[in-house]
Structure formats: structure tokens, C-alpha cells
């Protein structure tokens, strides 16, 4: 998942300045572990599956970033962790919540963002930002898998489809309404709908529609202010983006790097600490 372009740019910088300093942000999420190396610009990024141990995954991405960019540990002056596994790395300088990091990262990718919608593997959240990119309010759905990446994954498995296949569905297919938000109940609902002969493509769109409804109601509760940045693994689903845009009447800003916004935000927080001379 390395961006070859960014990696190449970096190689030239390292030759010029051996004593260059960096920060690294590591986002250990429930599904994926993401890391970014940063020095005012994003130098490189990496995404791997978290697996059972966020500690191992976090260590692995850290070492991989150092190795493939030919950077020494000593050059990394701040390591900030985030995500649900944020407290598991003992070599990190500080753990910051994914809410603050996602806001920072999204704001870096686009300074006009005032609302972040983040749908990750285990939870979904809406974050309101002020002009300076600081969090002013947030809402987090963390009680259950409803409306999260996990929900999408379970349903895709049930339909024997990949989440990516959802994007290839013909736009003429009519979405089947799924009334249950709960992963367990929705599963039984879909099984009965399949038994009644409903096409799986229209169920797939129905699933996306139910996630979109959930997201829109969260957005409305916090209050929608343009622009809206969409981050987290689920933001890669193009038809979900379209659905939410239709329901809100607003454009969603989705950056190709939005999946790593949390890790990027963590790296930026670390970098600011180096530059502002914070000692914690």
C-alpha cells in the first residue's frame, strides 16, 4: 500500500540531510493498522491488517517505515499512537484519541473541512471542527456494530460478495429497504429477504442505504457544517459517498489518503510538539 510517488520524493530528501527529524503517527484500529512518517509533509504511509495484536502490528508498521525509508530510530523525535490499540506500544511518546487525530488529519488534507464523518471498522463518529481545526464537538457510536465497517463486512460475507463488488453494481438496481440497524437482526432480516427471492444486488444497495441513513442522522445531531470530510476505511465505498451526498444535499470530500487520516493526524500532533518544543 506504499505510495511509490511519495516514497520516491523522500529518498532525495534523505540524501540531502542526514540529520533530518521526523515524527511518526501510528493508528492501531480494530481492523487495520496505519502509520505515517512526517516532517511537515507526509513522507510515507503504510497500512496492514491489525490481526489479534495491535502491539505487534504497531511495531511492524513502525519498523517497516524506518526500514524502507532508510531512517534511523534516533531521527524519529516523536511517536504518537492512536486508535483503540493506542496504549499498547511502550515505545510511543503519547497516546491521543482517534477523535482528535482524525480531526487533525482531515484538516491537514483539506483546511475547509468543518465536519468529519469517520466510519471505521468498529465505530462511527462525527466530529465538528472550528476554524483552527480543533475539535469543538463530537458524537461517537461505539455501542454496537450498527452502521460500521464491521456491519458492512458481515453483510457482504452473507451475500458472498466483497465490499469492493458493491461499487460495481449497476445504478439501475433498486435498493431493498433493510429496516434493522443491528448487525444480528439485519442478518436474519437479509436471510429472510434472500429466501423470498430478493436479488442480492438490491440487498447490497439496501445495506449501504441503511449505513448512509445512520451516518446522516449522526451528522444532523452534531450539526452539519460544510465541508464534510469522509474518512475511515468505509469511505472508500463510492456508492456510499453518493448516497450520503444525496441525503444531505452536500458534497463529501473524500481524499485518497482518508483511510490514514488518523495516523496522519497523530504524526502532525507529534511534529507540532517537536517544533513547538513541547516537553511532556
Amino acid at each position: 500500500m506504499v505510495c511509490p510517488h511519495v516514497a520516491r520524493v523522500y529518498i532525495t530528501t534523505v540524501i540531502e540531510g542526514v540529520s533530518q527529524l521526523f515524527s511518526i503517527g501510528i493508528d492501531m484500529g480494530s481492523v487495520g493498522t496505519k502509520a505515517v512518517i512526517y516532517n511537515g509533509e507526509m513522507i510515507d504511509k503504510i497500512v496492514i491488517p491489525t490481526g489479534w495484536s495491535p502491539k505487534n502490528a504497531g511495531t511492524e508498521v513502525f519498523n517497516a517505515l524506518l526500514k524502507r525509508n532508510n531512517i534511523k530510530k534516533e531521527q524519529v523525535k516523536k511517536i504518537i499512537t492512536t486508535g483503540y490499540g493506542r496504549s499498547s506500544l511502550d515505545f510511543a511518546d503519547k497516546a491521543v484519541t482517534e477523535i482528535t487525530c482524525h480531526a487533525k488529519g482531515a484538516f491537514f488534507l483539506n483546511e475547509n473541512i468543518r465536519t468529519v464523518l469517520d466510519i471505521g471498522g468498529q465505530d462511527s463518529k462525527v466530529i465538528a471542527l472550528d476554524e483552527a481545526g480543533n475539535v469543538s464537538d463530537f458524537l461517537m457510536n461505539d455501542k454496537c456494530a450498527a452502521g460500521t465497517g464491521r456491519f458492512l463486512q458481515v453483510m457482504a460475507t452473507l451475500l458472498e460478495m466483497d465490499v469492493e463488488d458493491f461499487s460495481a453494481i449497476n445504478s439501475t438496481v433498486k435498493p431493498q429497504k433493510i429496516s434493522s440497524m443491528c448487525t444480528v437482526f439485519a442478518e436474519s432480516e437479509i436471510i429472510s429477504l434472500l429466501a423470498n427471492g430478493v436479488e442480492k444486488e438490491s440487498l447490497a444497495l439496501g445495506i449501504l442505504d441503511s449505513i448512509a441513513n445512520r451516518a446522516v442522522s449522526m451528522l444532523k445531531r452534531v450539526g452539519i457544517h460544510s465541508e464534510i470530510g469522509f474518512t475511515g476505511g468505509v469511505s472508500k465505498s463510492k456508492n456510499l459517498v453518493t448516497l450520503i451526498e444525496e441525503k444531505t444535499g452536500l458534497n463529501l470530500y473524500s481524499h485518497p489518503d482518508s483511510q490514514i487520516a488518523g495516523a496522519l493526524g497523530a504524526a502532525i500532533i507529534g511534529w507540532n510538539k517537536i517544533n513547538l518544543g513541547y516537553i511532556e
Binding site: T97, I99, D123, N134, F138, M140, K143
Partner: protein, 427 residues
């Protein structure tokens, strides 16, 4: 705890099951309470009360009962203890703050019922709470639909008296509540055989007011820039206020306050400088429900005040002590109790004023709106509170959670994010 098995057995406690509860509580208390740094020395009394939670006080109640006293168990800050004590009864606030009792409660209640109700009913039905077993009468009230229906079930097992609390604060509601207090007085007289007189009511008004004054003194010390006591410890004291001997409790709180005043004078704080100060508002936290305070104070925050029934709602108003007649006394009681701003009232704007006032008085940095699951009144009222606080520029988040620790990780994330937000450089 000393050996109270005979006493428990005589009360009909299910010893085997009760042993399970007794086995977990000390460890739980140690982890949450005794692990704190720089606790005031005078917290020792309250540690003792908890360590003997089903012992010492139960023995005391049994001794009183032997001399003819009656024990009255209550669930709500609207039930006037003054009447209970005036009639020679002993009022004890019953708990229901542990998920230990929930499975027994769910035997007769729907699962989607508030944990406080499920635990209270479970404690009685499972015979695992000697306070319930000591009570000669339980007094319920109509503060929510769940409780109203639960009293009917509880009534199948033990004598229950229900006070009908009005849900609007109008003149006719006041008259009605005064009438309810009179009915309760008759009930107590019938139970104890002692007449409630102007003299004994005057004494009990003073007794309960003194307890409130002690708690007010304690809470005033939490307004200090340097916090001399943790939120967890303050919560524990308020929880104990509900069932301890009022006179002794008052004395012990004052002793603690003497120590805290010294700390305040020396600028001693139990928290690091810059720790965000949190006002907690919402549903009651019955002992041993210390979950929210523990999560806050282990995620980088400090609780400075509780706008809850196990907080200022319990003691912020005193009963007028200057009454000519008994009718005046009853009117003073009515006024004082109807001044509590519970979410069961409509409208309930007084609560919003309280939250904003307390936020300022306690120099809080943010508000955490705590709600037990399935508490519709408090959960719905969040919208109005949030809008009012936003207008004042006061940051607030809502956390809905029960007694189990399954969501502790997620709540910590939200709390930490909230504290990071309060700490942002622009703020």
C-alpha cells in the same frame, strides 16, 4: 468484615449467594478507591463504612429494631426523611448500584428496564441485600414509569407505600404533594405507633438539615482551585449519607472538612495541575456504582460536582426551620422537596439553571451528562440541556451506560477525546 452470618440468616439473607457478593466487593473497592493517592485521612471512617457495608450498620439497625424502632427503605430524594425520623422510624436509602443483582431483577422485569430498577428489585427478590431484609416498609414514588410498575411487583413480596409525586410544578401540584406528605405521615404513625408532633418534627428537620449542611460544607471545598478531595471520594460520602446514622455521619463529614480546609489553606491538590474540572449531571449513582467517576478520574479528568440525586439534589436546599405550626412545617417540607429539579417534571427548566450555576460555582471546564440506559426522561432532556449549554459556551458530552464494564474502553476513548478538546490551545 466481622462475622454477621447469624444476623444475616435471621434476616432471611441467601447466605450462599450473598457470599459471592461479599467476595467481590473488597477487591472492587480496593481497586477503585484505595489505589488513589493522597487520600484525606478522615476518609478512613467512610472506608470502614464500606468495608462493613452489610455488617456494622445492619447490626445497628437490628439493635434499634429490637428496641421497637422501624426501618423504612426509600429509593428517591423526594421521600421526606424528616417524617420518617419524627415518627421514630429510621430512614435508609436503598441502593441497587451493582450488576450483581440484575439477573435476579430480570427474572421478573423486562431486560430493557433501567439497571437501577432491575438491581433494586433483584436485591430484594434474591435476598442478597440485608438492608432490604431489614426494612419494615419500602417507600416508592412515581418518578418514572419503570419504578411505578416495579412497585407493584415489589409489593408482592414486602409492604410498599407509594407517594404520588406530581409531574408539574403548579400550585395544585404543591397542594397535592403536601397531601401526599400528610398521607405518608399517617402511614409512618401507623407503622411505628408514634405520633408525629410539632416537637419531634422540629427535631428531625434540624437533624436532616444538619446532615445537608455538612454535605454543603464538603461540596464547597470542591470549589477550590486546588481540589483537596477526589470526585470519587466525595461521591462515596454522598452515597453513604443515604443509609448511615445521620448524627454520626454529620460529625464525620465535619471532621473530614476540618482536614480538607487545612489542605485548602496549604493549596494541597489530589490532582495534577491543569486537570480538567468536570461537572457530572444526570441519573443517580447508587452505591457501589462508581463507574463514571472512576473512568473520568483515570482518563485525566477530575469530578468537581454532581448535579444528580447522589449529589447536590440531595442537599442543596434546606427545610425552613422557623415554623409556627405543624401545618407550617409540612408546608416547608413541601416547598423544599418540590424544589428538586428531577427530569420527571415537565417543564424542567430549573435543572438547566442549576447546571449552568453549578458549572460556574465549581469553576468547571466541561459537563458530562450521565444517563443510565432506558431512562427516557433524562435521555430526552439532554437535547434541551445541550442547547442551553451551547448557548453559554459550555462543552458537554452525553454518556449512556449501565453498571457493566464491557464498554469501559470505548467510554475512556470518548472521555479522553473530550478532555483533549477542552485542552485545545485555542480554548
Amino acid at each position: 468484615m466481622a462475622n454477621y452470618r447469624e444476623l444475616w440468616e435471621s434476616l432471611g439473607v441467601d447466605l450462599k449467594k450473598h457470599d459471592e457478593l461479599c467476595a467481590v466487593l473488597p477487591e472492587f473497592f480496593e481497586e477503585i478507591y484505595l489505589s488513589q493517592n493522597d487520600r484525606p485521612e478522615n476518609m478512613n471512617y467512610f472506608n470502614f463504612v464500606v468495608s462493613e457495608i452489610h455488617g456494622y450498620r445492619i447490626q445497628e439497625l437490628a439493635d434499634h429494631k429490637e428496641k421497637g424502632a422501624k426501618v423504612v427503605g426509600t429509593f428517591c430524594v423526594y421521600v421526606p426523611d424528616e417524617i420518617t425520623f419524627a415518627g421514630g422510624g429510621i430512614g435508609i436509602g436503598l441502593c441497587g448500584g451493582s450488576d450483581f443483582w440484575i439477573p435476579d431483577g430480570e427474572k421478573v422485569l423486562p431486560r430493557n428496564t433501567c439497571p437501577l430498577i432491575k438491581a433494586s428489585i433483584g436485591a430484594k427478590l434474591g435476598n442478597t441485600c440485608p438492608y432490604f431484609s431489614s426494612a419494615d416498609l419500602l417507600v416508592g414514588e412515581t418518578t418514572c414509569d419503570g419504578k411505578k410498575k416495579a412497585w407493584e411487583i415489589l409489593g408482592e413480596y414486602t409492604p410498599v407505600h407509594v407517594m404520588d409525586l406530581p409531574q408539574m410544578k403548579r400550585e395544585k401540584g404543591k397542594l397535592h404533594w403536601m397531601d401526599e406528605i400528610k398521607i405518608y405521615k399517617d402511614k409512618i404513625e401507623e407503622l411505628t405507633g408514634t405520633e408525629v408532633t410539632k416537637e419531634n418534627l422540629e427535631k428531625s428537620i434540624k437533624l436532616i438539615n444538619d446532615k445537608r449542611r455538612a454535605l454543603q460544607r464538603l461540596y464547597n471545598l470542591r470549589k477550590e482551585e486546588n481540589l483537596p478531595i477526589s470526585g470519587k471520594d466525595a461521591l462515596l460520602i454522598t452515597q453513604i449519607a443515604f443509609y448511615d446514622d445521620p448524627e454520626r455521619f454529620t460529625e464525620k463529614v465535619h471532621a473530614l472538612c476540618d482536614e480538607l480546609e487545612k489542605r485548602a489553606a496549604e493549596g494541597v491538590s489530589v490532582f495534577a495541575e491543569g486537570t480538567p474540572r468536570i461537572l457530572v449531571t444526570g441519573t443517580p449513582m447508587a452505591i457501589p456504582n462508581w463507574k463514571m467517576h472512576h473512568l473520568i478520574e483515570t482518563s485525566g479528568g477530575a469530578v468537581v460536582c454532581e448535579e444528580t440525586c447522589t449529589g447536590v439534589k440531595y442537599f442543596q436546599d434546606l427545610v425552613n426551620e422557623d415554623n409556627e405550626t405543624m401545618e407550617d412545617q409540612l408546608r416547608s417540607l413541601t416547598d423544599r422537596y418540590l424544589n428538586i429539579n428531577c427530569a420527571c417534571f415537565t417543564p424542567n427548566d430549573g435543572r438547566i439553571d442549576d447546571i449552568i450555576r453549578l458549572y460556574k460555582e465549581y469553576k468547571a471546564d466541561g459537563v458530562i451528562y450521565y444517563s443510565l440506559p432506558f431512562c427516557s426522561t433524562y435521555a430526552i432532556e439532554y437535547k434541551k440541556v445541550k442547547e442551553a449549554l451551547e448557548k453559554e459556551g459550555i462543552p458537554v458530552i452525553m454518556i449512556e451506560t449501565d453498571y457493566s464494564l464491557q464498554d469501559a474502553g470505548q467510554i475512556k476513548t470518548r472521555l479522553e477525546a473530550f478532555f483533549e478538546m477542552l485542552d485545545a490551545p485555542e480554548k
